[in-house]
Symmetry: C2
Subunit: 261 residues, 2 copies
């Protein structure tokens, strides 16, 4: 059985037209699917209006208790439930979740070494309860995850949405043929960053090594691809990197860049 | 099969000690159960810190779009997910929900007559999808509802938590023997409002009529009891009205005031 795990970020969430377009296409997508969303500017805006300034240590963002409250409100409340209501409108039977719900994603608070990142949750290979998630999927439910997890001891934690999407995809690859889809602002991996038409249609592991050696891939793209190929190594069938407004092409024509073993 | 539908309000939520005590007892409660929670002072405090003043028309509270955003953040995000994380800590397999999730509670935006209440959702006899809820319950999940519903057209709505608890109890009474439990600040229905020991242990429909005629029941309590007996008339087995910190007595000794047909 096939399963899509699709991640959207700020560039979709912050633009209500983009978001509606995406959610309509997501609803139309056949088969098992999971949506993971990040935060976007709304959390930053809310923090500002509450007089909370972003905490940075050595340039790294810190999730202090005030920030955790804000992201829990914005990610798990405002954004998540509005996405669910929109999906229901399109007859997609969504349920909005955090990792705490049904204990689906249990994280560990990041240990304090040089920097105390605060209430940030890291994931391991056993973080996701894929059996319980599969039960939900098979009952016709479409899980919509915000980027909040918990430690199992009553503490909510802020966790990177890309990491959550990848962990879900890897864990569920023991039960499904998983396609992991990252939506971002470009049409895919570009050979020439200034040319939107220079999308690489496919890259396999060997080609990725070659492209890295030849320094063809732009700096910002490298960690994304590295993480994608790690997920593939751990069992995910394929990873797509593409633009949210082309989601209707997924599974039909070519969507973004397809990465595979 | 027995099912508890338990509602808590501000007096539990606003006091973290009360809340933890309650959630521990709730976790220990055997059998099928659903928790419904209201808002409390946190939403008011957040509105203040964001510079949003409560909108009142003719003394009635109005849910404008700004207020809806705040209650969605606070009820469905902050409060709901913290409750879920606490319950998971006590091995209670909670999932935090709004009415939009899995389309479990579909409401109608209150029609504008003399007053435009804004984004307030009213419930009808067909609002709750009891079959889908029952599937969740039977898979071992404990639903935790915040007081947010939707209209099925993509719009979230603010709905009274007492009303949600009652609608859930009535709808599920076709499948379960439902005990509806309202937690409030007193130990139960008091014969003498100034005497906490004057709790009426039981009231049936006939006795309620008599008590009303004799003007024995304090004014503020009357609508609560009226709604409770309406739920009983519609199929709910019994309604308890009592204090959250005595929940451990529920189903064992006498908890609060028991209302029945």
């Amino acid at each position: 059985m096939e399963l899509y795990v699709i991640k959207i970020g700020g560039n979709v969430i912050d633009n209500s037209e983009n978001l509606h377009h995406f959610l309509k296409d997501f609803s139309a997508l056949k088969g098992y699917k999971i949506l993971v969303h990040g935060g976007g500017k709304i959390a930053t805006d809310l923090s500002h209006s509450m007089g909370i300034e972003p905490k940075l240590v050595d340039g790294r963002r810190i999730t202090d208790i005030e920030t955790l409250r804000v992201v829990t409100m914005v990610y798990a409340g405002l954004i998540n439930k509005n996405i669910v209501a929109q999906l229901q409108r399109y007859s997609c039977n969504a349920i909005g979740l955090t990792g705490a719900d049904a204990n689906l994603i249990k994280a560990t608070k990041r240990p304090v070494k040089d920097i105390d990142y605060g209430f940030v949750g890291d994931l391991s290979d056993t973080s996701v309860d894929e059996e319980k998630l599969s039960t939900l999927l098979k009952s016709g439910i479409v899980p919509v995850f915000s980027a909040i997890t918990h430690d199992g001891e009553g503490q909510l934690l802020n966790t990177n949405a890309d990491t959550i999407a990848s962990a879900l995809a890897v864990a569920l690859s023991s039960l499904y043929e998983v396609s992991l889809v990252y939506c971002f602002e470009k049409k895919g991996v570009l050979l020439d960053v200034d040319d939107d038409l220079s999308v690489l249609r496919e890259i396999n592991t060997a080609e990725f090594k070659k492209l890295k050696e030849d320094n063809v891939i732009a700096g910002g793209m490298l960690p994304k691809l590295h993480n994608a190929f790690q997920a593939i190594e751990k069992g995910v069938t394929e990873v797509y990197i593409g633009k949210s407004d082309e989601l209707q092409l997924l599974g039909k024509e070519s969507f973004g860049t397809r990465l595979f073993a």
